[in-house]
Amino acid sequence: MDTFTINTEGVNVAEIMKQIQERVLEKKKAGIYTDEEIREVSELKKQLSPQKEGAYGELALHLRRLHHNWDVAASSALITSHRKVLGPVIVALKKVGFRVFRFIGHPLVIRQTEFNAASVRFASVLMEELSRLIQENKDLKERQEKLLREMEERKRMEARR
């Protein structure tokens, strides 16, 4: 920005815009990236883009769903029937069948529940680690950008001398 000559005594917007448009044109003529930007792109770690932040948000949503649904042993089934006449009979039969299933399948249900709990714990720990890495990545990038800006500033000052 130091290469812009802007007179703050009498501001001339047309003149300022001319300089800005020339600068943008220079950048385009030079290619999409300057040398500094090429170095920056190759050295930087990939930052999460808004799309990836969207994916991260989706991971959090799935984890929340897992937290709500892992405990199959504690879940209760609502037994109903839409039939008007036979409905009560069907409901009674279903209730009996459900009790038999629970009696026989109890060990299986317990094992499934334990497996679900372990999976959810694992997913939670993974999310925590992922969050920590994202933050670390962001901090490193900011630090790197700051260092690059300082380098650029120093180069410009040396070039003026």
Partner: protein, 390 residues
């Protein structure tokens, strides 16, 4: 002298640039003339559904005569017709007339009243060229009408059906020099007496002091005020801003004030405050680094004038001739047509506090010279008086 103001919607709670302008002008002209507003019962500009009761009434002491809209607009039908017959092609005359019918508001009672009682009024002032109330209403009373078109470079201004509207009235009042040039270019009607008047800025309420007088947002920030809508350029603004933050890492916020009609991303540096009172809006403007208007379609931009009135520079969409014209005449703002220009303009403004201060002062002077209410009032008074004598 009795003057009727004809506008598609009227009321203190009606939101809209043209409608607000009409109301402010009416409330000032009542000092000089016997005024009456002729309008619909609608508050919603999408459906035109009746909200107020038809018949005579009052708003802030101004007599208002309302007429029912029948039938209300069906937006799905309007959008489908526009997509199929109007967009991306030169529509035929029958299609243009059908578009006008679907655009509405279909207020035949108002048109009938104009026809029957035209001699009871010395002059009719019509607001907004593109609505049915003006389109047909002006043609009922051309010899005693003034038009305030509030036009901008939108597809339907090129319709042939609008030619009579821009040639028939006794005079035309434009908001900006750019609007006037646009209309003269399209309709070759420079012979019609006209004046560039614009609008004054409404007085701000006294700012409401919070418990600590703090703003709801941390500085520094850039401020957008208006409908938060893709059609207002807000989608592009948000994209550019996020990209700018990523490239520069600046500690800067984008604050949006207004009703939201689009999704905003979840971003810690993009803040939507909703609709705020005039005093709070003024305080937010005074403390912003830059006011921003990303809209391509503007006929005046009251938010721009308000930003300058608050003493801050602006950054605007360079595709809008009106906004660019304001910036060049005032030296109070910069403009962009692509991301490169957006980011450079923002950098220039943010890194130079003395430049921001000077541009803000220049903008404020521009508004005081051209858009103070006494200046605007004088121009309306002159034109209305002259038009009724001819």
């Amino acid at each position: 002298m009795k003057v009727a103001f004809v506008v598609q919607r009227y009321g203190s709670e009606v939101q809209g640039g043209s409608e607000s302008l009409c109301r402010w002008v009416v409330e000032r002209m009542t000092k000089y003339f016997q005024v009456e507003v002729l309008t619909t019962c609608a508050i919603d500009y999408l459906t035109w559904r009746d909200h107020y009761r038809p018949g005579p009434g009052e708003v802030n002491g101004i007599p208002v005569r309302r007429f029912s809209t029948r039938p209300p607009r069906k937006m799905r039908q309007f959008n489908a017709f526009t997509r199929k017959r109007i967009a991306n092609q030169k529509p035929s005359l029958p299609d243009q007339i059908e578009w006008m019918r679907l655009q509405g508001p279909l207020c035949f009672d108002l048109i009938g009243y104009l026809k029957e009682f035209r001699r009871a009024y010395d002059l009719f002032v019509f607001f907004t060229y593109s609505y049915f109330t003006t389109y047909l209403g002006l043609q009922m009373v051309p010899d005693r009408s003034l038009l305030v078109p509030t036009a901008h470079d939108e597809p339907h201004i090129y319709f042939d059906i609008f030619k009579p509207i821009f040639h028939l009235p006794r005079g035309i009042i434009y908001n900006t020099e750019e609007e006037k040039q646009l209309v003269h270019r399209i309709f070759a009607n420079s012979h019609v007496p006209n004046e560039v008047v614009g609008s004054g800025i409404s007085e701000a309420e006294e700012p409401k002091a919070g418990p600590s007088g703090e703003l709801p947002v941390r500085s520094p920030y850039i401020l957008y005020v208006g409908r938060i809508d893709i059609m207002k350029g807000c989608g592009e603004l948000v994209d550019y801003f996020v990209r700018y933050l990523k490239e520069t890492g600046r500690d800067l916020r984008l604050v949006l004030v207004g009703k939201k009609f689009m999704q905003l991303p979840e971003h810690p540096q993009i803040l939507h405050l909703g609709v705020v009172g005039e005093g709070d809006k003024r305080r937010l403007m005074e403390n912003a680094e830059v006011g921003i208007n990303p809209s391509e379609y503007e006929s005046l931009s009251l938010s721009l004038l308000e930003s300058w009135s608050a003493g801050i520079p602006v950054l605007v969409n360079g595709c809008s001739e009106v906004l660019v014209g304001h910036c060049l005449r005032s030296n109070g703002g910069l403009y962009y047509t692509n991301y490169g220009e957006f980011s450079l303009c923002l950098e220039v403004l943010l890194s130079r506090p003395e430049l921001r201060k000077k541009m803000g002062e220049d903008g404020r002077r521009y508004v005081q010279t051209n858009y103070a209410w006494d200046v605007v009032e004088e121009k309306y008074l002159k034109l209305i008086t002259a038009s009724s004598k001819r």
